[in-house]
């Protein structure tokens, strides 16, 4: 290894001139334990389950019996448990500390939600059981649907999308279906996306064959209404807009934007990633939104689980409601019915555009989200929005004298800074973020949104206490002060105290190693 990271500067202690560290024989450091790959723990003959070999049957596999060994390692249960417990100790988590990832809404995940999702009546029910045996499951879906529709002020919801981006796909499909139903499918081929949008927005529009047209901002973190008006025309299918937007600001002109879009015969898709800031206080239906996905793992606290699973129900306006995909739940006289076929849908008066996934959506996430909503109630959810906005503004107000705030407040649920405050220090956004790891914090979102240079986007969420936020603010102020000192290595060599130093992403991408191979020499903990 060259000892240089992708920024081209030394990252190891030795090469960067920091003091030599005492090492241990094992590579472990007290409670911080090294752990090889599970494949390197193979003890042939060991097994973590007890099964008897089946007897008294004649195999009926045709000629398709597997011939070769697979190569899976053998381990007893305690070895497997220890392996994964040791791996877990290398992760930061919201349960352990403030996780200020902007746009990600890392809030407390109540355990009652986990308990409810594991009730056998929810967790141990098959999606294709006869409908009379799953009335309670459909009741739960219908109840959650009611909460989502009420909170957004929109009349319909598609529950099956598996995650936010899948919800975007669903929403944009409904929009295209509605356009085609009006006979304008050939004509409307352009989708407008602000430059600050999440990457999923243009990716989704492109998947549906739309030409993505970028709308410039107004220079103050919001969409330029006049620039938008100029882009609108008879060939525009939709606008995809996040609100509150990715700069953490509420789009003040949102009602005029929706009006202009509708007057042009196009639809308004809202990316609902930031619904947390307004839940219970503002209904997207009152803003003119036609479709919006809701990330249950953000606003409604289903756990992020290291990257999934998510859930992305999509609410729809009256104009798009007839096109909701299959399947969906209806209730009549207290009996729940799953609409699974086009014929059933026709009888129900809808014309679904198709199907997003097998089965009915992320039931496990629905249970968690509903438990969360019921716990808060209408009053608690409104307080969620208020406290998340209050916390973010408190961070903004407490840091703007030392860090460069990109825009004037008030912000919504997240505060955006750029790297002007680092100018001339030799420290970059990435270094600053990595130094936060050494102080025991997960970094904020970096380099997003793309509209400001070296972005640092902080979303504290409503589940952080004032005491916790004060400590966070004090830490960031200390770090900012340190950028001006001679101790640049604190940043450029960071993290110094994490389970791993900076990783060589260039090497990983140039010669990808994506799986363990038996012939690979074991080179675990040194």
């Amino acid at each position: 290894m060259s000892g240089m990271n992708k920024q081209g500067r030394p990252t190891s202690f030795a090469e960067s001139g920091a003091g030599a560290e005492r090492t241990t024989f094992t590579g472990n450091k007290g409670l911080e334990l090294e752990e090889p790959l599970i494949f390197e723990r193979d003890t042939p003959g060991a097994c973590g389950v007890d099964f008897d070999e089946p007897e008294g049957y004649q195999p009926k596999l045709g000629k398709l019996e597997r011939k070769d060994r697979i190569g899976l390692p053998g381990l007893s249960e305690p070895e497997v448990v220890r392996h994964f417990v040791r791996l877990s100790s290398k992760n930061y988590s919201i349960d352990a500390g403030l996780y200020p990832l902007g746009s990600c809404t890392m809030k407390h995940n109540p355990r009652i939600n986990e308990k409810m999702a594991r009730l056998p009546g929810f967790g141990d029910v098959h999606p294709l059981q006869p409908e009379q045996t799953v009335q309670g499951a459909m009741e739960l879906i219908d109840t959650l649907a009611h909460w989502l529709k009420t909170l957004t002020g929109l009349p319909a919801v598609a529950m099956s999308p598996k995650a936010g981006a899948h919800g975007e796909l669903c929403g944009m499909m409904a929009i295209r279906a509605a356009i085609e139903a009006k006979g304008e499918g050939e004509q409307r081929r352009r989708v407008l996306v602000p430059e600050s949008a999440h990457g999923t927005n243009p990716a989704t529009a492109a998947l549906l064959g739309y030409k993505v047209d970028t709308i410039n901002g107004d220079g103050n973190g919001r969409v330029d209404l006049e620039a938008l008006r100029e882009k609108l025309g008879p060939d525009v299918a939709a606008i995809m807009l996040t609100n509150p937007n990715t700069c953490g600001l509420f789009e003040r002109d949102i009602i005029e934007i929706a009006k202009a879009v509708h007057e042009a015969g196009a639809y308004f898709y809202c990316d609902g990633a930031n619904f947390n800031a307004i839940v219970g206080r503002v209904r997207p239906g009152d803003l003119g939104v036609d479709a919006m996905h809701i990330n249950l793992h953000k606003t409604f606290s289903t756990p992020h689980g290291g990257g999934g699973p998510g859930a992305g129900p999509v609410v729809f306006s009256e104009a798009l409601a007839p096109f909701v995909p299959l399947p969906y739940v209806v209730q009549k006289d207290g009996v729940y019915d799953l609409i699974e076929t086009e014929d059933e849908a026709k009888a129900d008066g809808t014309t679904p555009f198709g199907r997003m996934t097998a089965f009915h959506g992320q039931m496990g996430m629905f249970v968690r989200a509903l438990a969360y909503m019921m716990s808060h109630g209408s009053d608690g959810l409104r307080q969620v929005a208020e406290d998340s906005v209050l916390n973010a503004n408190y961070v903004l107000a407490s840091l703007k004298d030392v860090m460069s705030a990109s825009y004037e407040g008030p912000c919504m649920h997240e505060a955006l800074f750029d790297d002007r405050f680092l100018k001339g220090t030799g420290v970059e956004t990435l270094d600053f973020a990595k130094a936060m790891i050494d102080e025991g914090y997960h970094p904020m979102t970096m380099y997003f949104p793309l509209v400001v240079h070296g972005a640092l986007l902080i979303e504290p969420t409503e589940t952080e206490s004032k005491q916790g936020i004060d400590l966070f603010i004090a830490t960031l102020r200390d770090l900012v002060a340190a950028t001006g000192s001679n101790d640049k290595e604190r940043f450029t060599g960071a993290p110094h105290f994490a389970p791993r130093g900076r990783l060589d992403e260039t090497a990983a991408a140039r010669k990808p190693i994506l799986r363990w191979q038996p012939e690979m020499p074991a080179q675990a903990a040194d």
């Binding site: 992708k6 081209g8 991408a509």
Partner: protein, 125 residues
Amino acid sequence: MSDIRFTDQHEWVRVEGDVATIGISNYAQEQLGDVVFVELPETGKTLAAGDEAAVVESVKAASEVYAPVSGEVVEVNGALEDEPGGVNEDAMGNGWFVKLKLSDTSELDKLMDEAAYKEFCDGLD
């Protein structure tokens, strides 16, 4: 070298006879950082000026390389597929991407010379 020309998208083109060699500028490779992957066109493909000729990727970014001039691809720098870092090491020389058989030499006149390009880059910082 006087026969080198640049685009405002940071491609360079150098002409010898009727063959134009194309690459990305030193400024561009510095902005990209460590190049990890290069996707090259097939030889024999005809490109118009402004068409996508190649893709160059760093860890966190991917950029299209556009043909500064029109022509048929006669050779690609296959060495970059195994050692994409060659773009960083010698962007203006061994890190070239494709060679085109020129179809219209007058297109060169629309491009910047070295001095104009330097001024252009200075204006970007």
